[in-house]
């Protein structure tokens, strides 16, 4: 029997299921699997489920939940029960589709705003930093901060520089950043404090596209250096 997760209210129309406060693939797998389960087989009153690094949050309409699960003292108790019931049979949970996505990145010139800082802090050449960065496949743990902004990991410890002390007021669209063991891509221009290693011209967020965000939780991302002429 696995440890049961902590379940607590996030307001009166949402609860969070916390599998453990850490960045770990198996916890993230659970969060995504349970999200998929509820999305595929929604209970009456289900609004949406949102996976994060090691938790998921389930939003619901309390009027509908109370109507359908009137034997519980609260909508919270009913949804918490639904969560526990789904977790009793982990094998039945919907496995996530593991999409592999290549992201072409320009690691040179004006695109790599902080490559100098990263190289200096890591005590290696910019070329070595880029080699280490592109050697790995990164998992999309979750999206947040901005529409289409994927939190990915884990960055090689040797180049895992912390975010900037004071954030930039404008990070250009498509910038690829590092913040400790995490990496992410700014979907459009915004303020931000991550150390910028390069830039992609892939549209991470495109509101008029059928699926407006390119990446989804569970995806596997590779950064491919763009050949520079």
């Amino acid at each position: 029997m696995e440890d049961s997760p902590k379940i607590f209210p996030l307001g009166d129309n949402c609860l969070t299921v916390d599998f453990g406060n850490e960045i770990a693939i198996e916890l993230n797998d659970k969060a995504i699997a349970l999200t998929n389960q509820f999305t595929k087989d929604p209970f009456p009153g289900f609004i949406e489920a949102v996976p994060a690094y090691s938790s998921l949050s389930v939003f619901y309409n309390i009027v509908e939940v109370r109507e359908h699960f009137s034997e519980f003292d609260s909508a919270f108790a009913a949804v918490a029960w639904l969560v526990r019931a789904s977790l009793e049979y982990p094998d039945k949970l919907v496995k996530s589709e593991r999409r592999a996505i290549d992201v072409p990145v320009d690691f040179g010139g004006a695109a790599a705003l902080d490559i100098g800082v990263i190289a200096e802090r890591s005590a290696m050449s910019p070329a070595n930093v880029i080699d280490l960065f592109t050697a790995r496949t990164y998992r999309v743990y979750m999206l947040g901060f901005l529409p289409g902004f994927a939190y990915m990991g884990e960055v090689d410890e040797r180049i895992a520089v912390p975010r900037k002390d004071s954030p930039r007021t404008k990070v250009p669209k498509g910038s690829v950043g590092i913040a400790s063991r995490q990496t992410g891509i700014y979907p459009f221009e915004s303020p931000g404090g991550w150390q910028i290693i390069g830039r992609t011209n892939l549209e991470m967020f495109s509101p008029d596209r059928d699926s407006p965000c390119l990446l989804a939780p569970g995806d596997e991302v590779r950064f491919v250096p763009l050949a520079r002429s």
Partner: protein, 320 residues
């Protein structure tokens, strides 16, 4: 017919009850700050609950109506006047073609709502009319209103005496409301002194209060541990403690995830009270159980349903 914006006002946007279903992609719901005001304004006109409305601040917009229609104003009282005649909040009113709606003074509250019969017609994105200012999507032309903008809506005949709603459903607005809070996962990490401060002190709203969040000023609160949190979902009403011990309450334009300890969540029935406060106002907090918070939310839903049925009946009879 259209609403024609002679003056845009400050950060006037089109909003509905929010764009849900997309948080897992980082797409935040947005939507009205004061859902009670917006829903009541829609109810008195017989609109659908989630019809798009205008959210405005003071200085408020000046709007010309290029055809006859019916409107309702709710939330903040900015002294609405149509062609020089006072217009009451929380009631429906018929406006004639060519009328000009102005707002005279910031009487009470921070955010006003204007609903128009049939709802504001803007291009929906992912099923919602709400404006997402950060991503520049939704609403009227994907942004806040500017001068000379036009928003389409339906015309309505002058058929009826104005509908005015009863007091009981109106939120008990105050510049110094007591906000009921459901304890969050990290509440237990507050020191005993910090817990006492949270529940007994008054917190002041700083100038850093907008649709994304309200930063409060008060005695700094301390946690028993230096909690290192991995990011997880946050929502409208989540109360987080910042590294300097001050509080931030996330509002309608919140991000979908956050990494600061969550001390609690505002009971949803008290979010409208929060929406009508602003810089210089003050808050107190009082604890509420999840069961009580749900019960209050259900009570509001019942009253609103009752109001909707009543208004629909009146509006239908008017059309005879």
């Amino acid at each position: 017919m259209s609403l024609v914006f002679k003056k845009p006002g400050i950060l006037t946007t089109v909003q509905d009850l929010g764009r849900t279903g997309w948080r897992s992609l980082g797409i935040n719901p947005n939507g009205v700050m004061d859902a009670a005001a917006a829903r009541i304004a829609n109810a008195v006109l017989g609109n659908s609950d989630s019809a798009a409305v205008l959210e405005f601040h003071f200085p408020a917009p000046e709007i010309e109506f290029d055809a006859d229609t019916k409107i309702a104003i709710a939330g903040a009282d900015f002294g609405a006047r149509i062609d020089g005649t006072d217009l009451q909040n929380w009631s429906s009113a018929f406006v004639k073609e060519g009328s000009l709606l102005k707002f005279a003074k910031p009487g009470f509250g921070r955010r006003g709502y204007l609903s128009v019969e049939g709802g504001l017609q803007v291009h929906k994105w992912l099923g919602s009319s709400s404006t997402n200012l950060a991503a520049r999507v939704g609403g009227c032309s994907r942004r806040e209103l500017i001068a000379a903008d036009r928003i389409e809506c339906a015309t309505a005949p002058d058929t009826a005496p104005a509908l005015k709603i009863g007091q009981s459903i109106m939120p008990p607005y105050s510049r110094f409301p007591t906000i009921r809070v459901i304890a969050g996962n990290e509440f237990e990490f507050l020191t005993a002194i910090a817990e006492r401060s949270l529940l007994l002190d008054r917190f002041t709203l700083t100038n850093d209060c907008d649709r994304m969040g309200y930063r409060l000023a008060g005695t700094p609160l301390h946690l028993l541990d230096d909690l290192q949190m991995v990011s997880s979902a946050v929502t409208f009403g989540t109360i987080q403690i910042l590294p300097d011990g001050q509080l931030i309450i996330l509002m309608a334009d919140h991000q979908t995830s956050g990494g600061y300890p969550r001390l609690g969540s505002v009971a949803s029935v008290d979010l409208p009270l929060l929406a009508q406060t602003g810089p210089g106002d003050g808050l107190s907090f009082s604890p509420i159980s999840i069961e009580e918070a749900e019960w209050l939310a259900l009570q509001f839903e019942k009253e609103l349903k009752f109001l909707r049925v009543g208004c629909k009946f009146r509006n239908q009879n008017d059309h005879h």
